[in-house]
């Protein structure tokens, strides 16, 4: 050691100083440990989302509504089909003469929280079922869009060239087809087929729902496909991808560390935007009488039925209207919260 130090006194000596190549001491190693743990993209985005109070409140509303819609029907004393001719068009918390007599005898009768409809069915449970339909439509459409959109977009972006050109022309054409009109057309066309269908699921869903899902599968995924393709195309060309290739990153690492995180934001944003628009379409069709088949209620068909007694029983319109407004509003606000949290370009 001392010998080496002596030699280095000659500054232009080319002799290598072995002291520089000694293993680092524990103390030196400790200096290299980063004080803050590295934050992944997902965790970073989630942290930003958690800070967004409006988005978190919307998420809370959605969770509560979903819990009510899927759990309450299991132990609710009324069903959406049970008619009671003696209890038609009751106001909220009003009891029919028969029920009142029962109460006077000392029995307990579960109140009609939202009253009853023209056929004497408990309105609250019908609104809950309608909400359930809306949520199912929204979530399934998002799933359909995610699966088809990602596969189509990824293939188009990955292969590029002629394949990409043809696939994107198809997307352009589908994009300009008026989707609501095609849903209507299809639901008119398959009405008889659905009514006579042996599959219990199909006949319970009704022509409108079946055609909504068909059209989602055929048409709605195009914006997802476009975005995913665009992301993959542009990420392929990015300098940081080149840089990580240059320092020897494997393709698996590039896909894992660069492609997926960059696509995830687009996928989450578009899927979240898809949900309210699907709920809109379903309620619109149900309102026109093309949605779920009776007696299954949907928020749209409830609002449509409420029109006949609008003057006398306006609350029959207001309950489903409020439910659909609340759901769509919550999804819209959550969607824009997700966009703010996941869009790296908007990061301030």
């Amino acid at each position: 050691m001392s010998e080496a130090k002596k030699k280095i006194k000659n500054p232009i000596s080319l002799q290598v100083d072995p002291a520089l190549f000694e293993a680092a001491s524990e103390e030196e190693k400790a200096q290299q440990v980063s004080m803050r743990e590295s934050v992944s993209f997902m965790r970073d985005a989630m942290r930003r989302l958690r800070k967004n109070h409006i988005a978190m409140a919307s998420l809370f509303v959605i969770v509560v509504v979903a819990l009510i819609a899927f759990i309450v029907p299991h132990f609710y004393p009324y069903t959406y089909t049970k008619q009671d001719v003696s209890a038609q068009n009751l106001a909220p918390f009003e009891y029919s003469a028969k029920e009142q007599a029962k109460i006077d005898r000392g029995d307990s009768v579960f109140p009609h929280i939202m009253g009853t409809d023209a056929l004497g069915r408990d309105y609250a449970i019908r609104v809950i079922y309608g909400t359930r339909i809306s949520l199912i439509v929204g979530i399934f459409s998002a799933l359909i869009v995610i699966v088809i959109g990602i596969i189509y977009g990824a293939i188009s972006g990955y292969f590029g060239g002629k394949v990409d050109l043809i696939m994107m022309r198809v997307v352009d054409i589908i994009y300009s087809l008026p989707d609501v009109l095609i849903v209507i057309l299809l639901s008119v066309a398959i009405k008889d087929w659905v009514a006579s269908s042996k599959s219990e699921l199909v006949s319970r869903l009704g022509a409108g729902m079946v055609s909504i899902f068909i059209v989602f599968g055929l048409l709605y995924w195009v914006s997802m496909a476009r975005q995913v393709r665009g992301q993959i195309l542009s990420i392929k060309e990015q300098e940081y991808v080149l840089a990580s290739k240059a320092i020897g990153a494997s393709p698996a690492r590039i896909i894992r560390k660069h492609m997926i995180p960059n696509c995830v934001s687009v996928i989450i944003i578009i899927a979240a935007m898809q949900i309210p628009s699907a709920i809109f379409t379903e309620s619109f069709l149900s309102f026109l009488g093309l949605g779920v088949s009776v007696p299954m209620p949907s928020l749209g068909s409830l609002a449509s039925d409420a029109r006949t007694g609008l003057r006398s029983y306006p609350y029959q319109l207001l309950f489903p209207a409020m439910a659909i407004f609340l759901i769509v509003l919550a999804f819209n606000l959550l969607g824009s919260g997700l966009r703010d949290a996941f869009d790296p370009k908007l990061r301030s």
Binding site: D172, I173, S176, L177, P178, V180, L181, I182, I184, L185, L186, V188, A189, D192, W193, P276, F280, S283, F284, F287, L288, G289, L290, G300, A303, S304, A306, R307, L310, R311, P314, L317, A321, I324, F325, V328, L329, N332, L333
Partner: protein, 308 residues
């Protein structure tokens, strides 16, 4: 009009025509996949009567022949005969209904764009202040409300409860409520688009330059900023058309306006296939053409956009 623009125009036009053709094909084949004849579900008729009716409406020929005939007739503006409103051609009924729908739809669209641009610009200029917050809350609420909810609530409040406006479309002033209920959603959407686009433009360097030169605030906004903020709004014209035309189906039903939307829903009730096909194709063509015009205008107003 340079060559590049012209080639874009032609390409885009061909796309639009192809899409219209596809809509016609989809409509035709979907409707012909239905096993039931339009006459079988009605009151019991003898087989001979049904056969005669099918021959009259051309339903007895093979499907591809029918398709070619249908295409040829459409090009002449002939959508066939209505089976639900006997004695009328589909085209007559469409034109009759469209005169109402066009009036409502056009007014609603213009109102939505006009108000949307004004409110959106105001919100952007007042960014963070009370007015901006009010506009943001209201537009967020409005874009979360389906057209039928909006229309029924307006009917309930202004017509049934307050009695200010008539509930039927054929009464005096009866088109006011349908127009408002159709225009609120696109208005809210335009307001949001315009707000973000105005904020974007106001942050640009040339606006700062103009202000630094001492240009008056009103002049900066109207002369320098406004024109450049309008491009996103223009691209919304096509989707807005789609919204208004489909939205008019429920709104016309709620307010009993004898327009195209109501005709369409009635033809579904009467299983009038020729009518359903005719109206679908007509509405789809309108939407596709509006998209086409929107795209072209978009390139015309903003020459910076790459055409390739």
């Amino acid at each position: 009009m340079n060559a590049k623009f012209l080639s874009y125009l032609i390409k885009r036009l061909l796309m639009a025509l192809l899409t219209i053709f596809l809509v016609v094909a989809i409509t035709f084949f979907v409707m012909h996949a239905i096993p039931a004849s339009p006459f079988s579900s009605e009151k019991a008729k003898s087989d001979a009567v049904i056969a005669a009716l099918e021959a009259k409406y051309g339903f007895d020929k093979p499907v591809p022949v029918q398709f070619l005939n249908y295409l040829k007739n459409i090009l002449h503006g002939d959508f066939g005969l209505s089976t639900g409103w006997v004695g009328n051609t589909v085209m007559e009924l469409i034109i009759g209904g469209f005169s109402y729908s066009a009036r409502i739809g056009f007014t609603a669209g213009v109102l939505a764009l006009f108000m949307g641009v004004i409110l959106g610009s105001l919100a952007a200029l007042q960014r963070g202040r009370l007015l901006d917050k009010i506009i943001q809350v209201v537009t967020t609420a409005l874009v979360s409300m389906p057209s039928f909810v909006m229309a029924t609530i307006l009917l309930l409040v202004f017509s049934l409860q307050l009695g200010w406006l008539p509930s039927m479309g054929n009464q005096r002033g009866g088109l006011i409520l349908p127009i408002i209920s159709l225009s609120l959603y696109p208005m809210a959407y335009t307001t949001r688009l315009q707000r973000s686009s105005m904020l974007d433009v106001l942050g640009q360097d040339y606006i700062r330059t103009a202000r630094a030169k001492g240009v008056k605030n009103s002049r900066v906004i109207f002369k320098h900023a406004l024109k450049n903020t309008l491009t996103p709004v223009i691209t919304y014209a096509g989707p807005m058309m789609a919204y208004i035309l489909t939205g008019s189906m429920v709104v016309e039903n709620i307010f009993s306006v004898p327009g195209l939307g109501r005709l369409f829903t009635n033809s579904m009730l009467r299983t009038d296939y020729m009518m359903i096909m005719g109206v679908t194709i007509f509405l789809a063509t309108m939407i596709i053409l509006m998209n086409f015009i929107g795209d072209i205008l978009y390139k015309v107003v903003d020459p910076r956009i790459d055409l390739s």
